[in-house]
Each structure stands twice: as structure tokens, then as C-alpha cells.
Symmetry: C2
Subunit: 407 residues, 2 copies
């Protein structure tokens, strides 16, 4: 990026980010790559002028003159919504590290000609996020569970989603979900009942709750947790936006829990993203006579990377860094806070180096980390002991890897 990331971003940066957020549909790989190369200000100006490569033009041409970031930012301010970019200290670098790596890998394949055309709706981080609420976003993904499932959930599914989310929130685990009827709503309600934090990731603008009947759920979630969207205010929740939204839910969860899903449920799409990102996929079993559990069972039965069957909050906690103190919620909460503090205490270089790590289990050398993180090798070498001290990375046979969540 051309801009410095050492301070809170200025108004010009926000205007550019708001423009870029409006001008293309979410998860446009060509635009994301263009911004990675040229930065927000230069990219926004180039797009508006139509002075961009063909693949960027094709996904920005339709709105490049009509998009007005002043209007979007004004509406956002009126409705309590703020705009975050990777330059903001509250950006969830940790949660999005896997998206960053996946995006760069796929982009490299595309450039090398291994992929026929620039991919759409792919696993790249968002360029910016519209956010409402006061909970910290930076540490979401450090100790969180994406709770997903069908809109047409059964009473059993809603009960489990609500009970599990309640239990997770009681252990200071952030619950991440969408804003739909069924499992999504039950998950937020469970977290709210525990006075915990939940993150509602919307496919449309945050000033347009969808479904409309969930305005109160949006408001309550914003009060105790966060509303997050990749789309500017006023955006309708189009179908494709749900799919790209699902990648953010998977990325923001340390693990993804599928509570109920029919055989072709969108929740399986979220589970697939979680798998692609190297995150554990957990599935709740149910009666074999219930079509709403068929997708969960199929996930457990997969030959490759099967989901883990989970039946209790304690089992879920073992996959999101809280398992060692299931019996004692206070101890577990303290562990979570300690980890959050570890991350909060990092300087931006250390965070960037951390972001450069590939998915869990894979190790990298200092030189690879320099390339992946975009930080000079001397800075990488300086940052590694800090990250290790914070318990965020571990020494691997060849280099370093992300630390395992404590079991």
C-alpha cells in the first residue's frame, strides 16, 4: 500500500475506501489485487478515471461515475456506522490472515495462467468493512466460533444454536453468524442472553436489516456486539452477496459450527470456506429422520477433511482455544483475555508478520514470511520472538508456524 499504516487513516483514505467498497461487488479479485499494488487513494482515482486494466474495468465500469462516497459516509455517520480498512488499528488482521494468504496464492495462479480468468467471489480479504457497535473487532477470530445453519431450522436446531451460543458466550467466546431467521437469530439470542459478544455479518447495508423483522435483533446485537458488512449503507442483500458474506463468517470464526443444514444448505457453503481456510468444521448431529440434519451428517461422513461431530459446549470450546478450562468459566475467560491482550500489545509490524503466516499447521521460513507479509527481512526477524513470546506462533521443524489453540 502507498499509505502508511502507522496512524489512524485520514478522510481521504476513508473516502477512497468507501468509493472502492461501493464501486464493485464484494470479493472482486482483480480490484483487490489492483488495490494491493497501488493503494487505496491511487486505486480509487484510477477506477473513477477509467484508467485501469480491462479485468478491473469490467467489475467497476457500471458504477464508477455514480458511486458517491460522500453520500455513503454521511449516511453511515447518521446511522452509527463507521468504515474500517486494514489501516485502522481495529482491523481483524489475525482473522483475515488466512484469507490474505489464500487470495495471494490464487492471484499468483491466475497471473501464472493456471486459472483461465480472474476469479470472482474468491477467498480474499475485504477491502473495507462497515461496522456498527462498540465491541473490538481486532480480536474477533482469536477466540470465536462461527455458528451457521438453516433459516428453516427446526425447534431442535434453534434450541441447540441458542444453548451452545449461550455457553460459548459464557466462556468469553465471540459468536459470529449472519442475520437470518432460524439458526442465525438463535445464535445471537443465545449470546445476548449470556450478555456476551456476538458479531452479525450482514450481506447488505447495516442500515437495512434483513429480514426487516430483525431490526430489533440488529439493534440489540450492535449494543452488545458488532454488526459488520462489506457493503455500504443502503445496499440490498443480493444472492451473490450472501455467498461472499459467508467467507467473512468463516474467516471470523476460529472454528465453524454447523448446527442444522439440509443437504444443499448455504451453511455447507460456509463450512466449505472454513475448510479452505484450514479452520475446524464442527457439526451437530440430529435425528436421521430430520432433513435439517442431513447436511451435518454428510459433513461428518466426508472422506476428506470430515467435520468433527460435537455434542456439547465443552467439545466446541476444545476447538476454539478454551478447552483446557471447561469446568471453570472464570479461568477460561482469563485465558481468552490474556490472548486478546497479547494481540493488542503487538505493534503493526508484528501484526503484519503474523498476518503473513499461512493456515494452521503449515510452517514458513523467515524469507517466505518477508515475502508474505511485505515486511523487510530484518523486521521479520525482530518480530518473530515477540510473536512467540505472545504465544501466537511456534517454532516448527522448518521455520515457524501459527501456534495451536490451547486444548
Amino acid at each position: 500500500m502507498a499509505e502508511s499504516a502507522d496512524q489512524a487513516p485520514g478522510e481521504e483514505h476513508l473516502l477512497a475506501a468507501a468509493y472502492l467498497s461501493r464501486v464493485a461487488e464484494p470479493a472482486s479479485v482483480p480490484l483487490w489485487l489492483f488495490v494491493q499494488q497501488h493503494g487505496y487513494l491511487t486505486s480509487a482515482a484510477a477506477v473513477r478515471a477509467g484508467n485501469v486494466p480491462a479485468e478491473v474495468a469490467s467489475c467497476t465500469e457500471a458504477r464508477r461515475t455514480a458511486a458517491d462516497p460522500h453520500v455513503d459516509l454521511a449516511v453511515a455517520e447518521r446511522t452509527g456506522i463507521r468504515l474500517l480498512t486494514p489501516a485502522h488499528p481495529d482491523w481483524p488482521h489475525f482473522a483475515f490472515a488466512a484469507l490474505q494468504v489464500t487470495g495471494l496464492r490464487r492471484a499468483a495462479q491466475w497471473r501464472a495462467g493456471l486459472r483461465a480468468r480472474p476469479p470472482r467471489g474468491e477467498l480474499i480479504p475485504p477491502l473495507a468493512l462497515w461496522v456498527r457497535g462498540n465491541a473490538p473487532l481486532a480480536t474477533v477470530g482469536v477466540r470465536s466460533v462461527a455458528v451457521v445453519g438453516s433459516r428453516a431450522a427446526t425447534a431442535y436446531g434453534e434450541h441447540v444454536a441458542s444453548e451452545f451460543s449461550y455457553g460459548l458466550a459464557r466462556h468469553e467466546v465471540v459468536v459470529v453468524s449472519g442475520g437470518a431467521y432460524g439458526i442465525d437469530a438463535a445464535a445471537h439470542r443465545g449470546a445476548l442472553a449470556a450478555e456476551g459478544c456476538s458479531v452479525l455479518v450482514s450481506a447488505g447495508g447495516l442500515d437495512r436489516p434483513y429480514p426487516a423483522g430483525h431490526r430489533h435483533l440488529y439493534d440489540r446485537t450492535a449494543e452488545h456486539g458488532l454488526l459488520v458488512s462489506e457493503r455500504p449503507p443502503g445496499s440490498a442483500p443480493h444472492r451473490q452477496r450472501f455467498l461472499s458474506r459467508n467467507r467473512l463468517i468463516a474467516a471470523l470464526g476460529t472454528a465453524t459450527l454447523v448446527v442444522e443444514a439440509a443437504s444443499r444448505s448455504g451453511a455447507l457453503n460456509s463450512a466449505g470456506y472454513a475448510r479452505d481456510l484450514g479452520r475446524p468444521v464442527l457439526a451437530v448431529p440430529g435425528p436421521v429422520t430430520s432433513a435439517m440434519s442431513a447436511g451435518c451428517h454428510a459433513l461428518v461422513q466426508r472422506d476428506e477433511e470430515p467435520a468433527r461431530l460435537v455434542t456439547s459446549v465443552a467439545e466446541v470450546l476444545s476447538y476454539c482455544g478454551g478447552g483446557q478450562q471447561v469446568g471453570g468459566s472464570e479461568d477460561a475467560a482469563a485465558g481468552g483475555e490474556a490472548r486478546s491482550r497479547s494481540y493488542d500489545g503487538l505493534d503493526l509490524v508484528a501484526r503484519s508478520v503474523l498476518d503473513g503466516f499461512p493456515g494452521r499447521g503449515r510452517s514458513v521460513t523467515e524469507a517466505e514470511l518477508s515475502r508474505l507479509s511485505g515486511q523487510p527481512i530484518t523486521q521479520v526477524i525482530a518480530a518473530l520472538p515477540v510473536l512467540r513470546e505472545a504465544g501466537l506462533i511456534a517454532v516448527a521443524r522448518e521455520g515457524y508456524r501459527l501456534a495451536n489453540p490451547a486444548r
Copy 2:
């Protein structure tokens, strides 16, 4: 054995077997080993005379003078019960092959001093079986499923047990279970509704249905399938007899299906036997809110040899040799018949060689088979092509192994 196995056993053999069946509790390893060494006639006479090693005396002394095989055989004849031993053509050699191997291995360990005392209730074949009904026992275990679960089953569990057993029976798969309330009864009822064959393995005498309310279930099962017990007529269903009975259920099933089981259910004991015998363990999921499904979920979550989660008859069929023709019951039925005919067509030497094979997946050389089966090496070498032609064994990297059930 001292007796020849080339013809139907005579009255003296049956009297000896009836005596041995009465004199000790089931699954007495010392007595089984003694009979393996000396044959039925000699062993029975030696036990009655008290002329046996201490470890055999300790498990036979209490009843050695009181046991009267004439009475037991007379009661059996009056109540339609017959006595089978390995010398009878209808003995299920194929199903008990794994028990034979396990029993010999453990006995060898005991003799070598690796086990402190002669094991009780171990994985050995029965010395004899009391049987009522007209279905053939010899081929049970070639294409069968042990359906097990809690007595205190839920309506969901009984529904699944009944539906699955119905579907299995429609595909000519034999359903094996106990005679208890709950899952057992539902399994037999499902098979009966499909006009299929089920095998009810009782812990007590077959003239004493347990629970007493299941007299009608016993009668209907005998009519269409088989009642089987290791205990002579009149025996009460003691607790230890249930445990040794469970090993027979596991051995008679090509796979063991756990439909519902609480955390400490006896059904998990059957599943453990199936695992020890190298048989697939299948578990039906259920609501995480149901204590009756907790045992099933725990089986799927095991680190070592986890059970496979199954949700349909088609999935169960894939583990008992009927998966390739799930859509067409007639074809699948024909496959089952063909396999039964294959086994029926074997001479006794070939059957003995087949019995000598260890559990699925493990391979043996001709010399090992000679030792395991008790057949001369020349007979083993002659029998192997016959068994291979019948599709019962396959060539392995080192020697031969049992054929995989067709998928």
C-alpha cells in the same frame, strides 16, 4: 477334536455337548481349551469324573455331578429346541472364525504367562448352541447386521431400529439382536414386517423368554428366523450371561449397528466386542439433547477405531456386502444368495481353512493357516483356490486374507 466332523454328530456327542453346555458358565476359556485339546466325549467324561486341571475344575466343580444332559435334551426336544456343535453342518463357522482366532491368541498369551489368570467371559466361540427355528444358521454372519441398543429406547430409537431392520431384511440381510424391550424388539419387529430373517440371541434358556412379555416375539422370530442361546433350556438370564451373550451377537453380525445407547449402555459392550473382532461398528446419530444418543455419539468421536456414522439403510448395506445394489433389492438379494451358496458348497476342510483366517484385513501364509485351521498344509494348499473362486478370500501381499465385503 477326537470326533470326526465328516458326518452329523451322534447321540453320544450331543450328550457330551449338552453336559458341557450345562456344567460351566458361558465363555469359560479353560474349559474351551480343554475341549479343543481332548474333544467333547473325552472332556465331558473327564469333567464328570473330576479328572481335570485345576483351572477347569474351578469352573465346573459346582455342577459336575448335578448336570444331566438327558434331561436338558429331553426338554429341548419337547420345546422344539435342538443342539448344535461345530461338528454339525449348520454350525456358523464363518461367523465364529474371528472368535476362534481371538480365543486361540488369548489362550496362547495365558499359557505363555502374559496373562495372570485364565480369562473368563472372553472372546472364544461357544462350545455348543441351543437353537430354535428353521432358518439356516451356517450362513448367518456372511451377510448380517447386529442391531443393538438400549432397553429404555426413545420412540425415535425404536422407529429407526424398526425402519432400518425392515430395510435390511428387504435386502436379504439377516438382523441379529437380543430379546430385550426397546431397540432389540423393534429390530426383530422390523425384520418380521419385511418377512425377513432375524436371529434372536438369548442370554437364558430358549424355553424361558426374557422378558416374559416377549413370548410372542420369541415365537414369531422362531417361525421366520432363529432363536439362539449358549445356555440349555431352563437357564435364567443372569447378568454375566448377558455379557457373554453380547459377544455372540457381535460375532454373528457382519457389522454391528448401535441405534441408541446411553453413556454406559450394554450396547457399547457389544460394540467393543465387534471392534475386537475387527468388524465395522456403525452408529446412528440422534439429538444431542437425548441421553439415549450420547453413547452413539461417543462411539463416532473415539480417537481410535471410531464408529462410522450412518443415517440410512443404504449406508448400512455398504458395510455388510450389499452396497453395490442398493437401488435394486432383487439384485442385492441375488448377490446374497450367491454368497450363501458359495459357502454352502464348501467341503468341511475348506470351511475349516476359512475359519482359520484372522480378522478382516490381516493376511496369513499357508503355513500359518495350517496351524490356525488345524488342517494339514497339503489340504490348506488344495482349499485356497476353492475359497478364492468362491470369493471368500483374496490374495494378499504376503499370503491370503479374507475378501472384503463387496461395496
